[in-house]
């Protein structure tokens, strides 16, 4: 038991500590409200501005000339094609590389190096990837093309898929692998029939996250796929995409174009958020199952 004298001596200091604590805790609550506030502000503005112009026309008509009315059909289709191609090119590479890192080369020096480099590629500026593909494809070919855009997106897909594939395969218990091997399965068969199957939900999540990442990407498309005002499915020609059209329209002085930019922004954001929510649901269901 402390004497009353000591207690009174300590009281101001104790009060100061308490005060400092409540200030810090208040700031923490404030910071969280601040962070959530941005999300509400941005999504709210997007819904408000985007819904105003979101008519049926947006999905059925081509991009208009300056000052005219129209829709976003060609950029929507263009985005679907570019994203689809990017995923189709990037995913197998990513899965194979991730497989090597988690299965064949788990204790390999190569794996450590690839993991390090992959993590850097994961957050590398996407505009640099655009420049890279420009140098690699657009310049030698002499013109902008959809396929160059798709390859640029694929370069962004690879690190995401590598990362999740490796992580998910490492979560698969080794007993499963040993059991499969013990009944005489060769390693390749074991990986495809057992490991992939056990890690499937996580690997699909990785692909979904990659789709979410590239469907909003603008910078790598600016000087690869460029833009196209007209309907075009030619992979060897420039192709419109939603992000690039938003970029062009938003910075234009025409009200109709700006409105279309908002609608396009809403479409992209809803798609991306939906994808990330589905991806999250898949992994959390998986975690509960384990």
């Amino acid at each position: 038991m402390t004497s009353t004298k000591v207690e009174t001596a300590r009281t101001p200091r104790y009060a100061a500590r308490r005060r400092r604590n409540s200030i810090a805790m208040g700031l923490a609550v404030g910071a969280t409200a601040f962070g959530l506030g941005w999300l509400v502000l941005i999504l709210g503005a997007l819904l408000w501005e985007g819904c105003r112009g979101l008519t049926f026309q947006v999905f059925t008509e081509m991009t208009p000339p300056p000052g005219g009315a129209g829709g976003l059909l060609n950029p929507i289709i263009g985005s679907l094609i570019l994203t689809g191609l990017g995923v189709v090119i990037g995913t197998p590479l990513g899965i194979l590389a991730g497989t090597y890192m988690a299965e064949y080369g788990r204790y390999d020096k190569l794996t450590t190096v690839v993991r390090f480099i992959n993590d850097i590629l994961l957050s590398a500026p996407s505009i640099v990837v655009g420049l890279f593909i420009y140098e690699l494809m657009v310049y030698p070919m002499g013109h902008f093309s959809a396929i160059a855009g798709a390859v640029a997106l694929a370069v962004l897909v690879v690190p995401v898929v590598v990362r999740t594939t490796e992580d998910m395969l490492l979560l698969v218990p080794d007993q499963l692998r040993e059991a499969a091997t013990s009944i005489g399965m060769p390693r390749a068969v074991m990986i495809m029939r057992v490991a992939y199957r056990a890690a499937r939900a996580g690997m699909i999540t990785g692909v979904l996250l990659a789709v979410a990442r590239i469907s909003g990407e603008t910078a790598p498309l600016l000087f690869t796929a460029l833009n196209n005002q007209f309907w075009s499915l030619d992979l060897n020609a420039p192709m419109a995409s939603l992000p690039v059209v938003i970029f062009q329209f938003a910075l234009s002085p025409y009200k109709e174009w700006q409105q279309l930019a908002w609608s396009g922004a809403l479409i992209i954001t809803l798609t991306v958020l939906l994808l990330s929510i589905v991806a999250r649901a898949l992994t959390s269901a998986k975690k509960q199952a384990l």
């Binding site: 969280t32 080369g105 500026p125 640099v128 370069v155 909003g216 938003i246």
Partner: protein, 331 residues
Amino acid sequence: MVDVALEGGAISIGQQGERGRVLQRLRLRDAVFRRLTRASAILVLVILGNIILSLIQGSWLALSTFGLNFLVSDAWNPVTEKFGALAPIYGTLLTSFIAMLIAVPVGLLIALFLTELCPPWLRRPIGIAIELLAGIPSIIYGIWGLFLFAPFLQETLQPFLINTLGNVPGLSNLFAGPPYGIGILTAGLILAVMVLPFVTSISRDVFEAVPPVLKEAAYGVGCTTWEVVRYVVLPYARVGVIGGVMLGLGRALGETMAVTFVIGNAHHIAGSILAPGTTISATIANEFTEAVGDLYTSSLISLGLILFVITFIVLAAARYMLLRLERRIGS
């Protein structure tokens, strides 16, 4: 799984030749698959190597023309073909600095809230909401910043800063000038929101990795929550937090679209953070398709190379720190 062993035809006892052939085929397939995966892993390294090589190749003309002068000159004149990277580098560093100045304390405080204060049932929803900020494409931040945030700043925060801090000696240059709305400060603020989720989620993860025993011991001797965080959690998680901050910095440095919308694209170095400026990525995004002449294009690619080198160093340092932390927690 028996069907796998029997794949490629039924094997009955006595058909030794058939069995051998099946095994051979399986072995071949295994070898092919193994090579394929290894080649793909190596391809990741090849991609990075090629990015660096092609950037060096593309920037060769500009770098050999201007030499090291390219880094310290603030000239940017497509007509006379005089190019220097100083203004974009300055803008890139300054906007990222402003972003980190805001995002780091706020991110740490949110992580503190999520790990120490938040009721458990709220933890996941709030965590997810903050991470959704990272999921919003950067062009959305751009369009929002241009149409709503910049006009808002022009009418509220910027006049306020000019009228108060603009009169303080020493700071007056930093907050001088008319409120444009767009500019370095606006770009920095939007970047802050964009990197906030990275700082938050990594800080939260490393805070959670602090052994409960340490925190309980501190609480046991009568520490307040703040003291536990300040003297136990933060020192323990320091390396990881720095790693997370660097990761966020890497993002901020390379961010393109959001900045392009609100930076103003002015190739000069103004003392004021309210003035328009430019960043490396915004310059490339704005001018690359319109660049006429090899030297102009090459100068822009040189900017890309500089950006890549800076972010590479920052990200490599971040990964190294996070790796060190992982090893310590693992051991």
